[in-house]
């Protein structure tokens, strides 16, 4: 079978033996990381659901004897459930992009498939874009937290 490829210009940047090896290794490790990431996502979601159920049952037990404690347990359960599931969903997408990068890159390098190579780089691009936006949001929240802490600390002193 003729490999699905578009021959490039000889003077273009090529996938030579060296870059082939480096990209293959990078793809292998990226695939491993993504699989571990998928497992962590699943564990995080399961943890959130179990914690939600546990807090819910605690809340039901204390609803009659100690209503404020029951309400607090209910709220805590909902908080853990929402944050854990949201975290798992948020963590799932970069793992998916990384997995696609790894598997498509391996296929591209094995079969000399130009389309798979381009798609794999597209997925790595999506991975870094997602991670970059998330990092910027995280850093902005970090700065806001520092500013708020400084404001509250100065109010506490004076």
């Amino acid at each position: 079978m003729e490999p699905n490829s578009t021959p490039g210009n000889l003077f273009d940047l090529q996938i030579d033996a060296q870059s082939n090896g480096h990209l293959f290794q990078a793809a292998k490790w990226a695939k491993f990381l993504s699989v571990v990431g998928f497992i962590c996502c699943g564990l995080l979601a399961v943890y959130g659901i179990f914690a939600g159920i546990l807090f819910g049952s605690i809340s039901r037990n204390y609803n009659d004897s100690n209503p404020p404690f029951g309400a607090a347990a209910n709220l805590g359960g909902a908080f853990v459930l929402v944050f854990a599931v949201a975290g798992a969903v948020l963590y799932f997408f970069p793992c998916l992009y990384l997995f696609r990068f790894g598997s498509k890159m391996q296929t591209a390098l094995r079969n000399n498939d130009q389309n798979h190579l381009t798609n794999s780089f597209g997925n790595l691009k999506s991975f870094y874009k997602f991670l970059g936006i998330l990092t910027i949001i995280g850093l902005a929240l970090f700065f806001l937290e520092i500013i708020f802490v400084m404001i509250f600390a100065s109010r506490a002193v004076y």
């Binding site: 996938i15 030579d16 480096h22 691009k125 870094y128």
Partner: protein
């Protein structure tokens, strides 16, 4: 067969226009990630060193506890900072060399960049493996410990 395949691939797949565009965007966002990581590790270290640990009472014991807590905070910020800096240094080197390789169509520079990308993924992978082994060992010890306590 392997060599033949490698020679074959030399002329069959390349960084075409689409792949180059993707690589340019990868370089841009990976650089943003690396720089943000450098900034956050630095801030975390500054906060750990100069931040005050507030203690509700002024007793000798609470002073000892807060001083121990501060030491642990600085140590953990330093260790995570060193590891994070090392990992993101490779990501930054990848972006710098790949950008140069793409701008001046330099195969050697691009390959150097790809070595750094490979190293970046490899280090994170090895760290993950170490963490998984430690978690596995802790779980194993907990299970053995609880079984041991259950029999007596």
């Amino acid at each position: 067969m392997e060599n033949e395949n490698q020679l074959d691939s030399f002329f069959k797949i390349s960084f075409d226009a689409d792949a180059r565009e993707h690589l340019k965007t990868i370089v841009l966002w990976a650089r943003i990630c690396a720089i943000c990581a450098f900034i956050s590790y630095t801030i975390a270290l500054i906060v750990a060193i100069f931040g005050k640990t507030v203690s509700p009472t002024y007793s000798e014991q609470s002073y000892q506890v807060s001083s121990n807590l501060k030491t642990w905070t600085i140590a953990s910020a330093l260790i995570s900072g060193i590891i994070g800096f090392a990992i993101n240094y490779f990501l930054y080197r990848f972006t710098a060399e790949a950008k140069q390789g793409l701008d001046v169509v330099d195969q050697v520079k691009l390959n150097d960049g790809l070595i750094n990308l490979k190293t970046y993924f490899k280090i994170i992978g090895v760290l993950f493996l170490i963490v998984l082994i430690i978690v596995g060992l802790v779980l194993l010890f907990v299970i053995i410990g609880s079984l041991g306590r259950g029999t007596y």
